[in-house]
């Protein structure tokens, strides 16, 4: 599904001939965000329950991955001593995509950027999915635990 979401986002960003419709660009941004979100959910599910708990277990893990985890991930990514450097790129891209998804989904005004910038953001999402998938076993386990564990605010 993750690759399909990226392909869908790419399709939406380039779908219109001439001036792109706002709905196409906004859906592209939102879809790109969810591709990254689901890549993280998949990582957490794989690391924490694998297929032992079936779809219900994987769904529970996905629901536990709060959207606010993006902020925590970006904060965590500052700590280079404990985590792989690519965490910073993943966290930063996720936080940026999350902010743009909020604008795309909730702000009725036209986006302040156009098709090329949308395509660039979708490309960044695709690269972020690649980074998530390339994490080593130790980094994947750390990331899964961090994202799912409850944190006191």
């Amino acid at each position: 599904m993750i690759d399909d979401l990226i392909h869908l986002a790419e399709h939406l960003a380039t779908y219109d001939v001439g001036r792109p419709r706002q709905a196409s660009l906004k859906r592209a941004i939102s879809t790109a965000y969810y591709a990254v979100f689901h890549a993280l959910a998949e990582l957490c599910a794989h690391e924490l329950v694998k297929w032992r708990a079936g779809w219900p277990g994987r769904a529970a893990i996905s629901r536990s991955l709060e959207h606010s985890s993006a902020s925590r991930l970006a904060t965590m990514a500052r700590n280079h001593e404990l985590f792989a450097g690519s965490f910073l790129a993943i966290g930063a891209a996720l936080l940026e995509l999350q902010r743009e998804r909020h604008v795309a989904d909730y702000d009725p005004r036209p986006l302040p950027y156009g098709r090329d910038a949308t395509i660039a953001r979708v490309a960044q999402a695709r690269d972020t999915v690649r980074l998530i998938r390339q994490l080593g076993p130790e980094a994947r386990a750390k990331l899964a635990i961090f994202l799912i564990a409850r944190h006191q605010r």
Binding site: A74, A89, E96, P112, Y113, D116, L131
Partner: protein
């Protein structure tokens, strides 16, 4: 860090990291993000859209900017968005149509 210092750092880092994308300049604003956290909002103006599919280019630029600002003591997260030359011209055209009531 103050506004001018952040602009200087953005120019230094993005000028280097986004050279292939035709980095021109950056606008910097500060405020609260969607989670009400203090943040920086940096817009990079780019003249070359041939690199728009190069996702790692933008990720690397963002990480470099974030690290440099953090090293200089800036705690606010720098959101980094892009404006490509063609997009800006199209948006200006659309805006002028709107202003004319069309």
């Amino acid at each position: 860090m103050n506004h001018d210092e952040i602009v200087r750092v953005a120019d230094e880092i993005l000028g280097r990291e986004l050279k292939k994308a035709g980095y021109d300049h950056a606008d910097v604003a500060s405020g609260l993000d969607h989670e009400d956290e203090p943040a920086l909002f940096i817009v990079a103006y780019l003249t070359n859209s041939n690199e728009k599919n190069n996702g790692s280019l933008y990720s690397n630029a963002h990480v470099s900017l974030r690290e440099r600002l953090r090293d200089l003591g800036e705690a606010r997260f720098p959101y980094l968005s892009f404006r490509f030359k063609g997009d800006v011209e199209a948006l200006e055209e659309a805006s002028s149509l709107f202003d004319d009531g069309q």
